[in-house]
Point group: C2
Chain length 237, copies 2
DNA sequence: GCTCGTATGATTGTCAACAATCCGCGGAAC
DNA sequence: GTTCCGCGGATTGTTGACAATCATACGAGC
């Protein structure tokens, strides 16, 4: 013991199903598969270089995560998120990140501040470079680090799943145009509130941050609940 | 349209993997498989009457839900929950159910009250009959209905997963001996707070309810963080 | 002209066999 | 006596093929 080498253990310790699931998750997250598209098994299997067995296992995993929708003898489709889903994602994120905030304030504020500061620096760099994709990545990472700093594995897992859905929302309707400066400023406030241990400000800013995001996504978006055109085929039911 | 027939649609619309997953989830929940036991694929497949293919898909689903732990070329094992996991489950449950509480109070209190009252009646019946298993089932159902009444699919899904883990905790260490009367009384307070729209009392009672539960489970339990005997082989890492 | 039944093509669901990997045990070397 | 090496048994990971099911297009009947 006493080795300070950070996690060098996993040689190829992950099952191929997990690898395939990660690959697919990232592709869906980045919007490579438009919502509602059918994922043919044979094509994906050949393109990924695996057989249909592991691919199906990975699919089931993504179904359990809510990214895919399975219809028996029909196929698997990437879930298309309606307006209700966008609100729901942020409702759930608010629940998770609020709990994370309380845990952070009750725990190790210092290390949390460090992690958030690092993520914030990435955001600032992306904003300065005007790189929208990198900014979205950094935003994603900030919130991931935020929940991870709380130290609760289950909150972290739930947050990660919700962040993927968030990216799906953003990728679906390509309006990733929040004023970069404002976005960075909001996150800086969160970091500062963690650093200062200001519970009220942290929670209030967090909830406002979520409400802003959902408003920014849905505001003027062409999805207004009732399947406007052919791009959003089905109601969420 | 206008048919008021409630969901008669699904004939056998569910994939066998989903059915198998449900079956396994219930078995794990009820403690039929002690924590840490290895789930041999061939044996389970034969006992369930399916082949290894669908079984493996169901397994991956349970892995994604955090009920199983997969070691490559080693097998799948039911996760053994340590003390930290018990605390974490209740941390996550508090986060979810608190958010659900706020949503209920901001939404349709009346229908929520009805659902909770029905679940409460089941609890009272079980308590009166002295049936511990039925009481645990009713407790489970109460909290399920509570989150479901909030109307958020994602909160509901997360709550269901956490409730399964809760049952695992209870089944693992067979101390399901909370005073039945107290348990019913606590839930009645929750119902009343929903009915009266008393936010502070609802949230406070909820958090106290969670803290009580984790204390009741861990208090005097033989798992005291550091792998006391052979029943808890590995640290959670 | 419209509707219904049927054939076809493709896709998914399922299965049984093959290959790769790991654990436990016995024996040899030091 | 201890350590290392190798082998047998068992289990998982993967593959390809077979069977069931569904969507689509075409033609017959009214």
């Amino acid at each position: 013991m006493g080795l300070d080498l950070e996690d060098l253990e996993p040689v190829s310790r992950r099952s191929t199903a997990a690898i395939v699931a990660d690959r697919l998750r990232q592709a869906i997250m980045r919007g490579s598969f438009p919502p509602g598209t059918q994922l043919g098994e044979v094509e994906l299997a050949t393109r990924l270089g695996v057989s249909r067995g592991p691919l199906r296992e990975a699919m089931q995993r993504l179904v359990a995560e809510g990214l895919l929708r399975s219809e028996r003898h029909r196929g698997l489709f990437v879930r298309d998120l309606a307006a209700d889903d966008v609100r729901d994602v942020y409702i759930a994120r608010t629940a998770v990140e609020r709990a994370a905030a309380l845990l952070i304030l009750a725990g190790d504020r210092e290390s949390a501040t460090l992690r958030l500061t690092a993520a914030l620096a990435t955001m600032e760099a992306a904003a300065a470079a005007g790189d929208a994709v990198a900014l979205a990545d950094a935003d994603h990472r900030f919130h991931h680090e935020f929940v991870a700093a709380a130290g609760s594995p289950r909150l972290r897992r739930m947050a990660d799943a919700l962040l993927v859905e968030t990216r799906m929302c953003l990728a679906a309707l390509q309006r990733t145009a929040p004023p970069a400066a404002d976005l960075v400023a909001e996150h800086r406030i969160l970091r500062d509130a963690v650093r200062d241990g200001d519970t009220d400000r942290l929670v209030a800013t967090l909830e406002a941050h979520m409400a802003d995001a959902v408003a920014r996504i849905l505001d003027g978006a062409d999805l207004s609940e009732g399947a406007p055109d052919g791009n959003l085929p089905a109601l969420p039911a």
